[in-house]
């Protein structure tokens, strides 16, 4: 099908975008278009106005300051995937990006678009949760920061007002020497994750686990941090028995069910992938 009728706007600055959002009724922001365009074609969305962000040059950047990576909301997934500083300092992001859609969709798709679309299976949503990213949002009364943990209000519902715009994402760099692992199970490469697991580990001077992060994507309405399993790993030696005990915590998750995938299947995948993601992270500790 074809998109419904709407009026197209192509502002070039953030204030101009905010001005349009403040005055237009029933407007949608168009980022990379890899989700909104299909939603228009399938007539899931009927905006009267489409505000294209692709001409807002100030929204596309990758900055690396000290212990923080700051990424403009309109930065293409392809440019993140190929960025050497991201590969070196946040390998979890690079590893996850390789699973985001396909070459053609990463060439257009943006990090801000993916986070705002907030698909429960989206790799970038899951990784932003694992990395404790901070979302920068501009609105009529200035800018505000929202921690990723508070960004999803529910299923595909980000904490953004109708007159607001996500401008950037800040990622605190995990400490040097950390280990990261990202694993995903889907029917074909690039398909939506049935389950994804992201793990981050750091080690103290005596070789024991100093911090652990486990995030599951695709299992619930929003990415799930296994906080108790994370806490249980601290002080343990990074070896298979500890990882098996932590992964067993995923048995207690309340997994989604859909027409193709029963909840018990997602739960079993979550346990297996959690163990494997932790093992992959441990193998990369240095």
């Amino acid at each position: 099908m074809k998109p419904p009728d709407f009026t197209y706007h192509a502002p070039e600055t953030v204030p101009d975008v905010l001005g349009l959002l403040a005055t237009l009724e029933n407007a949608r922001l168009l980022a990379g278009g890899q989700s909104l365009m299909p939603m228009l074609a399938m007539r899931f969305a009927f905006p009267d106005h489409v505000i294209d962000l692709n001409r807002v040059a100030a929204l596309g950047f990758i900055e690396h300051h000290g212990a923080t990576l700051r990424i403009g909301a309109m930065t293409r997934q392809r440019d993140l995937l190929n960025h050497p500083a991201i590969r070196r300092h946040v390998p979890l992001l690079t590893e996850a990006l390789a699973h985001v859609g396909h070459r053609q969709t990463r060439n257009r798709g943006t990090i801000g678009g993916s986070l705002c679309h907030l698909d429960p299976a989206a790799e970038l949503v899951s990784v932003a949760t694992a990395l404790d990213a901070v979302i920068e949002i501009a609105g009529p009364s200035g800018t505000r920061d929202v921690p990723m943990a508070a960004f999803p209000l529910g299923y595909m519902t980000p904490s953004i007002g109708p007159d607001e715009l996500v401008t950037a994402i800040r990622i605190p760099l995990p400490p040097a020497g950390h280990g990261a692992g990202f694993l995903e199970f889907s029917r074909r490469h690039g398909d939506f994750a049935i389950v994804s697991a992201a793990a981050l580990l750091t080690r103290n001077s005596s070789g024991r686990i100093a911090s652990a992060v486990i995030t599951l994507g695709g299992v619930g309405a929003v990415p799930l941090r296994l906080a108790e399993a994370e806490a249980s790993l601290i002080g343990e030696t990074p070896t298979a028995p500890a990882f098996a005990r932590a992964a067993a915590a995923a048995r207690g998750i309340d997994a989604m069910e859909d027409a193709l995938i029963p909840a018990w299947y997602r739960t079993r995948l979550a346990v297996t992938l959690t163990g494997r993601a932790l093992a992959a992270a441990a193998a990369r500790l240095s």
Partner: protein, 158 residues
Amino acid sequence: MTRKVTLTVNGTVRSASLPDRKTLADLLRQDLGLTGTHLGCETGLCGACTILLDGRAVRSCLMLAVQAEGHSIITVEGLAPSATELHPLQQAFCDEHALQCGFCTPGLLTTLVEFLHDVPDPSAAEIREAISGNLCRCTGYDTIVKATLSAAARMRAP
């Protein structure tokens, strides 16, 4: 709303007046007569409509025509260097029987032209991942991978 769009297609500056909601794929096919770009699903799943936008492979059904204002586009019609000579990848597809019904071919060619530019010496596994967003319902993937390997070797040759 209707507006005029000017863009470069296969090296030539072209203009058209069209409604805001029209996709880039429909601009190419309906207004410019370039029907080599195929439309399978129109929802970004099949990859048949892939074109090169400023050198990058993108799905033309997932872009509005108005967004292409000022950009440079290469479609499958623009891959061959002349009217009598095929692009090495097109020639390899021909030689290795990498097209059956031919519906997915334009999207595969444009996707793989960009891929071979980025990865001149790929493995078969890398090729399979590169074309994961292109559906061939004749399921002729083996010959597509073979053709790509052979085109890559030919294009690397001095």
